[in-house]
Amino acid sequence: MTTVSEKKLTEFEDNDQKPVGFGRMLRKEDARLLRGRGRFVDDVQLPGMLHLAILRSPFAHAKIVSIDTSAAEASPGVKAVVTGETLKGLGLAWMPTLSNDVQAVLATDKVRFQGQEVAFVVAEDRYQARDALELIDVEYEVLDPVIDVRKALEPDAPLIRDDLDGKTNNHVFDWETGDAEETDRVFAEADVIVKEDIVYPRVHPAPMETCGSVADFDPVEGRLRLWSTTQAPHAHRTLYAIVAGLPEHKIQVIAPDIGGGFGNKVPIYPGYVHSIVGSIVTGKPVKWMEDRSENLISTGFARDYIMRAEIAATREGKILAIRTNVLADHGAFNGTAAPVKYPAGFFGVFTGSYDLMAAHCKMTAVYTNKAPGGVAYACSFRITEAVYLVERIVDCLADELEMDPAELRLKNFIQPDQFPYTTKTGWVYDSGNYEPTMRLAMDMAGYEELRKEQALKRAKGELMGIGIAFFTEAVGAGPRKNMDILGLGMNDGCELRVHPTGKAVVRLSVKTQGQGHETTFAQIIAEELGIPPDDIDVIHGDTDNTPFGLGTYGSRSTPVSGAAAALVARKVRDKAQLIASAMLEVSVADLDWVKGAFQVKGDPGRSVTIQEIAFKAHGAGDLPEGMEGALEAQICYNPSNLTYPHGAYICVVDIDPGTAEVKVRRFIAVDDCGTRINPMIIEGQVHGGLTDGVGMALMEMIAFDEDGNCLGASLMDYLIPTSLEVPDWETGFTVTPSPHHPIGAKGVGESATVGSPPAIVNAVVDALKPFGVRHADMPLTPSRVWDAMRGQATPPI
């Protein structure tokens, strides 16, 4: 096991290393992005291209009485105006969501959230398209909305989904995990029980690039090319085939450079379908690019869980059981992107990193008149909510027991010899060694010193808080025996070709949105084959040119596609070994692999490089009996289990007693994501996730007024951290490889987003201890902290 506290980069460090395999390496994709030569969806310009704009509902819940499009149709430059009625005629008014619900492509009967799509205009330029929206006359009959999620199931609550046959209430699903009876029994015998109501408010991923698409339908070939902001181009292609009835082999989905995704670009949005319809109707390429307000009010939100948490323990601080009851707001359509058998995503890992006797969760999900979504914002399929719940309630228990929160956690960790560890909710943690990770974070923070400083400050009336969170994630969905999205198994393909001169191309089913796949996947191949990463091209984001797979979200690229890349390279290496044995005239067993070459055992002077083998594979002369030419392979990887990264985070905050403003002074993040492919990229991803955490804990929330108006509809209202709200991040790492992943890697993209909010909230609550505060809900804005200081903390919804 390695434990390392990373030094801060100095200006004089050699950054431009050239590893043939794993290690710090500068990114291949930066050359174009630094020069303004990236190609994002909105950069796509096609001859004759038209522009599409969407008319959205101003109301949260209203019947559509009539729509008059005549003035819009007569507006300059307008080529088409399409309403729900038009789509109904084409059988396209509704589409399936990723959770087997349906969602309106354009509203026909009524609108169900503010911002819902009602009509669209296609015009010669984007200004004309927007002008024409103003001329569409929609008559609405306003209905009472369901905004307060707690009232959604009351008998007299307005019915939102009257489009569903036989639906009489706003219930989406009930879900349960763990053993209720056993958990109740353990609770009944426990010395100490702590309860808390904990809200994880609705937030939004808000990538800097909004969502959009360019559709180009060729009526002669019957072929559709679609450039779109998608994290999952192959899954989208299959769904378009199902939704639009187009044959799948005639659809090409291209995800070019993507300006951040964070789960916001997993679902299929009506706008993508609009652009396809627009292109079919007009016979021209059609571009749709939403603006920031549209992105915030209508696309995939995240969280919105109201959780009752209970923890049972002995007086000495042995945690015995956790139980929770959750009310989940799914918005107007159940658009959650999660494996079918996991309607609550992977919330089942709410048992955290602790060895419990029992656990139980009961959840109810409901419809409200708000935008659909739920799984997004780097949440690893709801693990953000699970980790927040357990790490908050463990801190509440520490407060009750008057124990140090670090000590309480250390006392209850699953021990290294217990892995693989099956939790009380049935998850099999692959590997872990928690204590060294925790100790490293405490050492880096100078934990004891911080507690001393805090005691001195408290004596002077100053408000300083230290918060800890320890998380275990479950990522890399997933094994096809129990994980699919709309019937598509969550596997990923990979294809590798080594060219005659020893350069290579690797094709992936996953898609970077900034994670650096063009670099790290070249490094994985380099590690396995000894070909320098600069000699390896990584192709991704184009369904015509890559093998099928489910895409990039839930930190699954490295655990699933990364495994595929390593295994496809090994397959190529196996073939290379057969060719090498013929070239060197020795048996296969007499060859040693030294990265990049096969060498005759005991005779290092006799060897052939992978490049020489590649030329031989394509060249003249015989190959071994029965072998085809070329040096290439393809696989589809089905993981045997998820991977379980972990980490220890410590946050130090200072609160101004006069203004209640929270300042994050320090943040120490120690991550264990198993084998590390490129430390620079890992560190960058962790930094980004920590910044998300500051946003969620202190600033961000998508709120609604009682009429259902979204109050976070611009970046003036929905506050995202800038450089002034975050500290210089301090990172470290431990390495506990995954036993079932071919290179031992576990994935890291979402760890920091998952782990940081509880660390920050725990720090704020710790700072507020002198006021008797045990819990305060996010976002901890100055006004909400001010209320908490006065014993008037309220839930945000």
């Binding site: 630094l34 800097m208 920031r292």
Partner: protein, 162 residues
């Protein structure tokens, strides 16, 4: 209406609508798509370009207001194949991930270094505080600017010694 402006040293005259935003003029009319469009409310800064040497948010500047002025965009930073030191700094220190905020960040940081060749961490944070990056958490952007400051100082010293 007709507008004439210089962009990255080249003069352009185009017929446009009076309401056209500078960001759309650069992207849709001139095809300079390195400058991005992100929020419409001057909050995110992915659209930052220079107008007469000052960084401005081109989503809230009319193209007409840039008439007769010198505009510089991310495409005007590199000198042929050679990156501007600020671009090299971002490359060396992983100052970018998805690359969407990067053009605006580069323009702001270049302007900062031109005025203040040796900025502190606090000064860099202040300079980029009108811009949002969702990927990097800002630390690596700050390191990138410091890398550039140190390397530009070294280069100057070498020139002086020669």
């Amino acid at each position: 209406m007709q507008v004439t402006m210089t962009v990255n040293g080249v003069e352009y005259t185009r017929e446009i609508e009076g309401r056209m935003l500078l960001v759309h003029f650069l992207r849709d009319v001139l095809g300079l798509t390195g400058t991005h469009w992100g929020c419409d409310t001057s909050n995110c800064g992915v659209c930052v370009v220079w107008m007469d040497g000052e960084p401005v948010k081109s989503c809230t500047v009319l193209a007409a207001m840039a008439g007769g002025r010198e505009v510089r965009t991310v495409e005007g930073l590199a000198n042929g194949a050679e990156l501007d030191p600020i671009q090299e700094g971002f490359r060396q220190c992983h100052g970018l991930q998805c690359g969407f905020c990067t053009p605006g960040m580069l323009m702001t940081c270049r302007a900062l270094l031109d005025k203040n060749p040796d900025p502190t961490e606090g000064e860099i944070r202040e300079a980029i505080s009108g811009q949002i990056c969702r990927c990097t958490g800002y630390s690596s952007i700050i390191r990138s600017v410091r890398w550039t400051a140190v390397h530009e100082a070294k280069a100057k010293e070498e020139v002086a010694q020669a």
